[in-house]
Assembly symmetry: C2
Homo-oligomer: 224 residues x 2
DNA sequence: TCAAAAGTGTTCAGGATACACCCATGC
DNA sequence: GCATGGGTGTATCCTGAACACTTTTGA
């Protein structure tokens, strides 16, 4: 089936890496070093070569361009594959996008392309259609809050329910009722109460919780 | 960024084409003409060459291998992109899968690879991991029944509520309550009552309905 | 004693579920 | 007149939404 004349399209991989900073959802961007869009902010991305999987390519790209390893990310999930406009004489390109969720991600001394986390709520105009890709990833993340334990990947091992609520609020973009939020999250059976308290500030200490699982768990669906 | 030495992975496109036959959900399969898995049933798929989009490749592959045009399909949706095991010396391959939904799809005189629709409930062992891909597509379709009008792509222009219910039941794999089903579907505001009746058989004629839209519509979400 | 965040229950409305009988037709 | 599928309504349960005050601590 494979002719000798078969020439594959260019394949690229792009990553939408989220983490919480200062109670805001932020996304990792780099400054493009070359045309097209030289100097513009963009998602970290690059070519996928023969002999490496898309995950391997993602890891390599994040490492080289931003000093981030996928091992620092609690969740990595494929988003969508775009047919991109040709960027070279080979014709159409295919772009596979991933979403990654982390916490305390360090950008180890890679300032060549100035990797930085930007608040998702106030993004500059990005290269290509990267703004749309981020919106898509954000929607996916919003939806997953409702029926998975994804939030674990964005929080420290132990956290207070108020911290957890602030993550939900930042991602959903709406304030939530404290009592209803606690009732619901506790009823999902994804959290584990610890015996520890966080005592910070001049107020009553807060109970610390952990997630029962540190990997993505999908809760039961609901249609008939 | 693009070295002259860049060699992309092999890119393939596979289609999971569903239609209703005899009140059952069925999927289009072909018999593989070459190794690997020569003689085994498989999803129609093939190489994506430079210069064509994945949609174009899908259309070409379906046309050549099964005599099906994507224009016969009411819905075409990308499913997932798999890193496949290398099938040739180029190394890893990337496989982009699509789901297509049709009705009355004709396989125009292409019996070279014996294209046929098989009941999803009773599939043979397929080549590669195609059984898993079909399960994935089936899950996606189930989920979409709940919050979109996808079913339009599987039904004739006019249909009875009983026909519609039978599509839902076949896909979900459970019987549904007639009164509750009608109440719910009618409340979604995706159907349009016609003035026509279907009079077949020795019983009361049934009201015919159409879908208000003949393109995919997503209903409102529900999280906070 | 004051400020600041933690923690906690009840009421209400709307949607989902369960359930059984009469209707219109062809033969 | 009978067999066949078409068509309809109500009572109940459960989930989601709204809503305000007391508790514990540090300063």
């Amino acid at each position: 089936m494979l002719q000798d004349t078969y020439i594959p399209p260019t394949v690229t991989v792009d990553g939408v890496i989220f983490q919480m900073l200062d109670e805001k959802l932020t996304v990792l961007l780099i400054k493009r070093a070359r045309d097209p869009f030289m100097g513009a902010w963009a998602l970290p991305g690059g070519y996928n070569a023969a002999g490496e999987t898309t995950h391997e390519a993602l890891n390599r790209i994040l490492t080289v361009k931003a000093g981030v390893s996928v091992r620092q990310l609690g969740v990595v999930e494929q988003l969508y594959t775009f047919d991109s406009v040709a960027r070279d004489p080979r014709g159409h390109a295919v772009s596979i996008t991933y979403m990654g969720l982390g916490k305390g991600v360090e950008l180890n001394g890679h300032d060549a392309q100035s990797p930085q986390f930007f608040s998702v709520a106030h993004l500059p105009k990005l290269a290509y259609d990267h703004n749309k890709i981020i919106v898509y990833a954000h929607e996916r993340l919003k939806a997953k809050l409702a029926y998975t334990n994804v939030a674990f990947a964005l929080l420290p091992h132990e956290f207070t329910l108020t911290q957890l609520q602030s993550v939900y609020e930042a991602i959903l973009g709406t304030p939530l009722d404290k009592r209803n939020f606690r009732k619901r999250l506790l009823s999902l059976d994804i959290l584990q109460e610890t015996t520890e308290l966080s005592k910070e500030g001049a107020h009553r200490p807060a109970r610390l919780y952990t997630f029962r699982d540190r990997e993505l768990v999908t809760l039961v669906r609901s249609f008939d």
